[in-house]
């Protein structure tokens, strides 16, 4: 049965990238525990609007945990306290009456704040541009069943491919490294026969791009895996490292 709770929110408000931000306090009253976290912010935003104030800016779109658009640091944890859950899929039943909730944007040099909780994440796209693909043009592909792929490899590739590109791994990492994101893509493609020809080049150029974009180094803190809403495994990082070293030793790609 539906229950309601009252909360105190401390929300990061920042008018623009170059502006100074600060935490503002709001009361959230009679919040149904069946609401999602974002629906709770919707309610606050309706109130703010009617009071003649500016609503809280935050990114979101699918609201079902798949587009990777939403995300904020809730009480110090990217996407909040529930394991394997995006912010849009977090429900208020995981909070208690009279809780105080601190809500902040992703914090990373590579993700500047646009406004309030919305950040700029195009650096993730740039890493993919550097090699996160198999170079096949449309048309001319052979029959899909011409190359069998073992079920095991396909499943592992799918595990890696489940990444939604939200950036929580970067926000969680003390070094703001994007290794989990990058390794998930390199792993997925390296697990398929059709991804092999470019595997060395892919690993090298994506890692190089990541370094250039201002992400930090991976020092095996494993916070990324703990906070990833899709529970992408850090074994992907090991697979990336293997691809990367193989590329360095055995291939002409530099």
């Amino acid at each position: 049965m539906t229950k309601t709770i009252n909360l105190t929110l401390k929300v990061w408000r920042q008018k623009g990238q170059k502006k100074k931000g600060r935490l503002e306090t709001y009361k959230a009253v009679d919040i149904s525990t069946d609401m999602s976290f974002l629906e709770m912010i919707d309610v606050i935003n309706e109130q703010l609007t009617l009071e003649g104030k500016e609503p809280i800016a935050f990114d979101h779109d699918c609201r079902e945990g798949i587009c990777g658009m939403c995300g904020a640091v809730v009480n110090g944890r990217p996407h909040g306290p529930e394991k394997g859950t995006t912010l849009c899929q977090l429900h208020m039943r995981h909070f208690s009456n009279n809780d105080t909730i601190v809500i902040e944007p992703w914090r990373s040099r590579a993700f500047p704040v646009i406004k309030d909780l919305a950040v700029e994440r195009s650096a993730l796209d740039r890493m993919i541009q550097a090699g996160g693909f198999i170079s096949v043009n449309t048309g001319g592909a052979q029959d899909a069943n011409a190359i069998p792929v073992s079920q095991e490899a396909a499943e592992l590739a799918m595990d890696a491919a489940a990444c939604i590109g939200c950036g929580a791994c970067v926000a969680a990492c003390p070094n703001a490294s994007a290794m989990l994101f990058l390794s998930a893509k390199v792993s997925q493609l390296a697990l398929f026969p059709q991804g092999k020809p470019e595997a060395a080049k892919r690993a090298i150029s994506m890692v190089r791009e990541m370094d250039m974009l201002g992400f930090g180094n991976c020092t095996n803190e494993t916070e990324c895996e703990a906070e990833c809403p899709k529970e992408i495994s850090i074994t992907n990082i090991a697979r990336l490292n293997r691809e990367f070293y193989k590329a360095g030793f055995f291939s002409a790609e530099k």
Binding site: E64, C67, A144, Q151, A154
Partner: protein, 637 residues
């Protein structure tokens, strides 16, 4: 205007080959002299942008989200159809074609649907080559499952994340072209107008959603891949930013809008639970392969489902439709759920739900097998409802999901504005009055990978295009009108929020232009929408400023368009005095409560022409001819 669908001559199976041969070509060296604007990066826009760039065209691609990978297509769960017949069940291009025409209740164009079935096989090949991780059998070959409205297993899938994986495939191809410089990507932009010069689409006006700047872009052709308009109902399974704005503004510039009242209600969504709710979540209909739909036999039975013994359960789909059972098409499944709830057999707190039960499937196949197939869907269900579907039957209810209507296009996917092409859910082309499951992904990718790249070449090679710049008066006029409407929204300063209006509009549409419709209700709704629109113009409250990241302003523009477009849907529904597929007018039904078509008078596409603000639109008809399939009363018994 006489609508010419430009369907090539010759036998059905040879039309596309023949057309490709007859289309004029742009030679490879000349392709780089053309610039093409693509709006949208879902399956349609992503695949089109990448394929055009690979051919050598210069492409400018736009989307609302911060990255092209986040388009609404990402949320598709169940799968994508193809006529591969890997399962040896007797599938074929012809069968996929036939099922799609029949599923669409004979309101689609034969030639388009046949082409769609033909290229379906190329799509799967292409996606596998890109590294899309489709599910595989133990032998390493691709796995298939069946999906609503089909008796063969022709659906390819990647767990419950097929849309995500297909989109990431198209996105990776797109990113590769961004890397080579052939595609210039413009994320966080909203197209607010199409610019037509001498009757040809030559550019767009877009708002930069971060800075609020109004930008102008020229092109030799414009391709709209902006998705469907299900959010006119406020609550739908669509992503929050899905809208009708791009299509509607093109309509106002002369593109006809076809069959706007053809909307699809999906039978398996998580039921509504409160008025704060912002969207509805779909549970993929692949669940109907293993789940059994039932309600209590007795009205008002409020016991927990486990407490209701077998003989007191009504598996109404299996009983009523013995050959398709739980796999009847979506419109049939949805209307039957509503019927049960109207008879007071609905379950759950609100009585607006039916059970989808996996108990038998788990007993038969084991929990592990079910988990492998649907694990992420079950998990999603549990997150939202706090109930475990391995133990308690799911509760489901129909919700707005897809829109078959869209901008009218000819066989080349070109609208009634020359040089304005429309792909994916945004066009009306292939699904008639009802879409079969796993066919939207197929259509989006067919349009983008395998149809447009040819047909746009035919247009560019055969059309003289003068040099233009954004200094042209048509751009200036367009910018002025976009600016005026943005300023108007900010200046009203009324007392009701944008969402408040949107919710009210949604209720009107769902009550009177939803699962079942009647003339009286539709007429009433028309008046209600006009009133609501007038109030919006005087009483909406949009905070913030225009030169800023202003999400309220974005929504206000979209809702303003929905308030006009909703009326067009009603007008269309009123004019179609028959029932077909998703359009169910209660006055026209068979003795078994199925949609009763009137092929004599309504075997046509209704293409609406804008004639001016607050004026009635004009109806243009494209007669549909069925030379290859016989028109029959659909029956899934």
């Amino acid at each position: 205007m006489q609508l010419d669908a430009k369907i090539p001559g010759g036998p059905l199976a040879q039309k596309w080959d023949r057309h490709r041969f007859e289309l004029k070509l742009v030679n490879p060296a000349n392709k780089r002299k053309f610039e093409i604007i693509v709006v949208g990066t879902g399956l349609a826009g992503g695949s089109a942008s990448a394929s055009l760039a690979e051919l050598g065209y210069n492409v400018k691609t736009f989307c609302i989200q911060d990255s092209p990978r986040r388009a609404h297509s990402i949320a598709a769960q169940g799968g994508i159809n193809a006529a591969k017949n890997y399962t040896n069940e007797g599938d074929s291009i012809w069968r996929l074609f036939y099922d799609t025409v029949k599923g669409g209740d004979f309101r689609s164009r034969e030639a388009n649907v046949y082409r769609l079935a033909q290229v379906s096989n190329n799509i799967i090949d292409q996606c596998v080559a890109q590294g899309v991780p489709f599910a595989r059998d133990y032998g390493g070959l691709l796995a298939n499952r069946s999906f609503g409205g089909s008796q063969v297993q022709r659906t390819f899938y990647a767990r419950g994340q097929t849309g995500q994986q297909l989109l990431l495939g198209a996105y990776s191809a797109l990113m590769r072209q961004v890397g080579t410089g052939k595609v210039k990507m413009f994320p966080r932009r909203e197209m607010l107008d199409v610019v037509a010069i001498n009757g040809k689409a030559r550019g767009i006006v877009a708002r930069n959603l971060i800075t609020g700047e109004i930008e102008t872009h020229t092109g030799d052709a414009v391709v709209l891949c902006t998705g469907g308009y299900g959010n006119v109902y406020f609550l739908s399974t669509n992503a929050m930013a899905s809208n009708v704005t791009a299509a509607f503004r093109a309509y106002k510039k002369g593109a006809y809008f076809a069959n706007p009242c053809f909307t699809q209600i999906h039978p398996t969504c998580i039921p509504v639970h409160g008025d704060y709710q912002s969207k509805l979540t779909l549970m993929s209909e692949s669940l109907r392969n293993d789940g059994r739909v039932w309600v209590p036999k007795n009205t008002g039975d409020k016991r927990r489902p486990q407490r209701i013994p077998e003989p007191e359960r009504d598996y109404y789909l299996e009983n009523k439709y013995p050959s398709f059972g739980n796999l009847v098409p979506r419109d049939v499944a949805s209307r039957n759920a509503k019927e049960q709830c109207d008879m007071d057999k609905g379950v759950g707190e609100t009585g607006l739900a039916v059970y989808l039960d996996f108990e038998d499937a788990i007993k038969r196949d084991g929990k592990e097998v079910i988990e492998k197939k649907y694990g992420n869907l079950f998990q999603m269900y549990e997150k939202i409802t706090a109930e475990n579907p391995y133990e308690t039957p799911m509760m489901i209810y129909p919700a707005i999901h897809y829109t078959m209507g869209g901008l009218w296009v000819d066989y080349n996917l070109m609208s009634t504005i020359d040089g304005l092409f429309v792909l994916g859910e945004a066009n009306f082309s292939d699904h008639g009055a009802n879409r079969l499951g796993a066919s939207a992904l197929m259509q989006g990718l067919a349009d983008g990978y395998f149809v447009l790249p040819y047909t746009i070449g035919g247009y560019l090679a055969g059309t003289p295009l003068e040099e233009i710049t954004t200094g042209h008066s048509a751009f200036k006029e367009s910018v002025t009108s976009v600016n005026d409407s943005v300023e108007k929204l900010l200046s009203i300063n009324g007392k009701r929020t944008v969402d408040d209006f949107h919710k009210q509009l949604g209720h009107i549409m769902w009550d009177y232009c939803g699962m079942a419709r009647n003339d009286e209700g539709l007429k009433k709704a028309k008046g209600m929408i006009q009133q609501l629109r007038a109030e919006f113009q005087e009483n909406v409250l949009v905070p913030g400023s225009k030169k800023d990241f202003n999400q309220s302003l974005e929504r206000a523009g979209r809702v303003a368009d929905f308030l006009e477009f909703g009326e067009l849907m009603i007008i269309d529904a009123l004019s179609r005095q028959e029932s077909c597929g998703g359009h169910f007018n209660e006055a026209y039904q068979t003795a078994e409560n199925e949609a009763l078509r009137d092929d004599e008078n309504f075997c046509h596409v209704s293409a609406w022409e804008f004639t001016g603000k607050d004026k009635e639109p004009v109806l243009n008809k494209e007669e549909l001819k069925f030379d290859n399939v016989e028109l029959t009363q659909r029956s899934y018994k």
